[in-house]
Amino acid sequence: MYMFDIYLIMIGLLILIIGVLVGVAYLTLLERKVLGYIQIRKGPNKVGIVGILQPFSDAIKLFTKEQTYPNFSNYICYYFSPVVSFILSLMIWLLIPYYFNLISFNLGVLFFLCCTSLGVYTVMVAGWSSNSNYALLGGLRAVAQTISYEVSLALILMSSIIMIMDFNLLKFFIFQEYLWFFFLMFPLSLCWMSSSLAETNRTPFDFAEGESELVSGFNIEYSSGGFALIFLAEYSSILFMSMLFVLLYLGGFNLSILFYLKLSFISFLFIWVRGTLPRYRYDKLMYLAWKSYLPISLNFLLFFLGFKILLL
């Protein structure tokens, strides 16, 4: 490690961050466009050529507005929890299989679990420190949902880890060269998909902020910059979850543009689900996590463990 390498890593990180942010910006645009066409209307199409510059206009608008803060909030916690959640969601992107090994994680899966678990705290703190009943209740809803689904997420992940016997995300490619894990563990991959929908608080399970029935959730007291940061963190975690789906089940990182196409398709799927499915019921959501996904993932874990032992 010479200074030169350190510079290279810094440049790589910068490119990564910029890429993620631009990706998030255009994911929001894609979402608005797709939702628009699903509901037979046009999405944003005025700013720029056909609405190309809409996300930037939104970002500029959000960041130039005045940020209000509640008088009785716990100011430091209130102010910094969106920042921390944004930083965490950028940090998690270190895991991306980079073309020239930005950082080669041997324990990448563990890092992912750590970062998502920490992300829950920011939601909790954001809800609590706003010192408002709605924010507190919204935060509690979000936290209960997120940690429940984290359990099933980790257990589903265990099966994949057993199959590759490693924590390195790059290893998923060489084990899927012949056939994708999507076919090997089809039901599990569907479980993973819906768990990641719940984990990122996306639509069929968006009880953290159901706009129409519930008052907006933990982020009700946030405006301008803080809100933008929460928003960015959410969307970058959506992108990350879709990348993880591609890595785990759709053939891994195979050094081709196909990887990114698959990633885009999965993130389109997230949006498609939002445009199609009605919201679930909260108690059913909890039962789904604890009574369906937990036993299913445990049984599959046993099954794949046996299979792996059989092969050894």
């Binding site: 084990f175 060269e177 076919f183 089809f186 299979f307």
Partner: protein, 152 residues
């Protein structure tokens, strides 16, 4: 009193009455029966397991090949390393001779003709310490090497 001239059209049901309201449940179309789905699942999983087993065998083979290649090339790498080491020792000796040629009574490898290690038999290779090994090289190389040595 003039009546309204416009012929009024009363809002009435169409002739023959309204069509019956379709209140019957229309279930989603099912493409596969439960048995077919189970059979398909078992078939796909069995095929995937077969492919996984093949893949796993291939990976094990590759790992063994990589390990054997490493083992095969290891002696050569060691020999190359030793050769480079000895070459550098020679270079150090020559550099020292060149450097100290104006000092009267200086003999390379000794302290003014006095042996450094009294108990060692002559012609023993005494490995120099790190700083002595890099004494005559460029500071940049010494620094790089030191960085690697300290950080690894």
């Amino acid at each position: 009193m003039a009546a309204c001239q416009v012929a009024r059209k009363q809002d009435l049901p169409p002739p023959g009455g309204y069509k019956p309201i379709p209140y019957k449940r229309v279930p989603a179309k099912t493409f596969f029966s439960g048995y077919t789905m189970f059979a398909g699942y078992i078939g796909i999983t069995a095929f995937a397991m077969y492919m996984y087993a093949k893949n796993y065998k291939q990976i094990t083979k590759d790992e063994i090949e990589m390990r054997s290649a490493k083992m095969a090339i290891f002696p050569m790498l060691m020999a190359e390393r030793d050769r480079a080491y000895l070459k550098q020792l020679r270079k150090n000796r020559d550099a020292e001779r060149e450097l100290m040629k104006d000092v009267p009574g200086w003999e390379v490898g000794t302290y003014y003709g006095e042996k450094v290690y009294n108990l060692l038999p002559p012609d023993t290779l005494v490995e120099p310490i790190y700083h002595e090994y890099y004494a005559h090289s460029r500071p940049y190389e010494w620094y790089q090497r030191a960085y690697l040595k300290l950080r690894s």
